[in-house]
Amino acid sequence: MAKLFVFGIGGTGARVLRSFAMLMAAGVDVNCDKVVPILIDPDTQNADLNRTVEALKSYRRLHTAAGDKSGFFKKDISKLADIEESGEGKIKDTFTFDFGGINQSFKEFIHFNEMDPDTQSLMQLLYTQDNLQSPLTIGFKGSPNVGSVVLNKLLDSPEIRYFADNFRKGDRIFIISSIFGGTGAAGFPLLLKNLKNPDSGLQNAGDISSAIIGAITVQPYFGLQSDNESAIDSNTFVTKTRDALAYYKNNLQGLDTLYYIADNPDTPYENRPGGASQKNNAHLVELLSALAIIDFMEYPEADFAGPTLYHEYGLKEDAREITFDHLYEETKQRIGKQLVQFKYFAKYYKDFIHQDKGKNYYKALGLDNAFANDNFHKELRQFLENKQWGFYAWLHELSRNSRRFMPFDLNTSNLNLLVKDKAVSHSWLKKGITHDGFVVRLNKEEKSLSAEADQRRKFLQMFYKVTDDYFNEKVPAL
């Protein structure tokens, strides 16, 4: 199998990749050897971007320890710098694209003052004063006309050359962007055009231009509070989307498949044009957008022989509060079991495991010592419980947003009631899923996995197997 390069452009690209990281942590499968996310956003202070980067970095460290057979964290998510097979020079060891700190305004970037008066007049016709004065360090503030100029820098960058050097026949590319903002709306067609150009001058340009490329373009799904001080007005989102779609209709050449997703905006977000204050709660649309990546990899090459395939996502039932019951069977099949298993694991790890001192599996794995000294457990706790970007924070954000995605009861301490509307049947004689039952099964798995010498892998495998058994035996069908 091959690599999958995922370009996440702008704030939406970053947020979708955060959801994707959570799905991968839960053990959702994606049909490739390795996923290489590349986040493209000049706004390096953007909180959404940085939260995703932290989640991906943490995932990577956990995967390195867990290996590919531990159930959770099993898919290799690599940084571009990690995949070196060939190529010259070095790139920054990070998931983000390095814009080299564009510490200037758009006016300075295009050398406005050095232009002749006629060109300056033309530029003033195409760009508002605000566009021209705007510092590029916080992105393009919803202005794709600015982004389309700045992002042209992409092709000359060491990252793109490095990507091209290491691209192999059979690898696939997926691009995530929003259509109603600045960075994503501008970056997507630009990136596609360059990737599809066999004469781009990049290494392996032939293989890249003939590669299977999929994309998701996220249409408006949230609104912003009105703010006269802000350059972004969410009332223009639909107009911008319509214009961009008209452009895409005639100018997206060579795309093999395109996914669309949108939602009716409800409660508006705070209007933060960029920077560290742009921290939007995770949204169901981002989670469903992440599914497009997985869906894209399910199609065999032959299916892309014809014209561009188009996909849209629909819920089974329109509701403001979404649980597993509101998702179609295909979605539940793809992520339901894994999310439930991972939630059980996270719940147990957070609330119960420290009560197990003295239990067989706990002593056999030396967990007292491991919790104090092993970086794997420190990292795992971060991934699950970090208040900014962790798994629990992600679930809480999803459950607070509108529409709310709340497949789990996040407040219960009863393991039988963890999955919303899917209570595990229990009675006086039949206990369902209990702390004691967990311990018994963990003890059993610890003994049956005696061949696994690596304690960290064994730890994850044990929990994966126990939660897998519980899901199959006790949790009602989703």
Binding site: K359, N360, V440, K444
Partner: protein, 132 residues
């Protein structure tokens, strides 16, 4: 076997008292009490702990060291009581030797409990690492 039990008990409490009951202790009481309490009952209690409470019952609530210690103490109490009881039904002279013998039997039952635990704990699902 008789010689082993005689050696073990007399190592701690000396020769039977009064001297005229030495044959009774050496030929009947030591081997019977030792065989039943140190071997049979102790092994039974170890199996009860490791395989009934901590394997077949499918609960892990009894797997702590203090549960193990509680069973060890119960076993020691049984060993003590049975030694006294057995001396009485064999009409041994009721002096302090009986109680020294019972105490030695309780001590050995604890040691045997520990040794049997080490031997059989590995296959127990929930207490393979109890007491350590």
């Amino acid at each position: 076997m008789k010689d082993i039990f005689r050696f073990l008990y007399e190592l701690i409490i000396g020769r039977p008292q009064p001297p005229m009951e030495t044959p009774l202790y050496r030929n009947d009481i030591f081997p019977d009490v030792g065989g039943i309490t140190l071997l049979l009952i102790t092994m039974g209690m170890v199996i009860l702990y490791y395989y009934l409470l901590n394997h077949f019952m499918r609960t892990a609530v009894f797997s702590h060291w203090y549960h193990w210690l509680a069973i060890l103490l119960i076993n020691a109490a049984i060993a003590f009581g049975y030694a006294v009881y057995y001396c009485r039904i064999n009409e041994a002279t009721p002096d302090s030797y009986i109680y020294w013998f019972a105490a030695a039997n309780a001590l050995y039952s604890a040691i045997f409990f520990l040794l049997f635990s080490m031997a059989v704990k590995w296959k127990s699902n929930n207490a393979a690492h109890t007491p350590f």
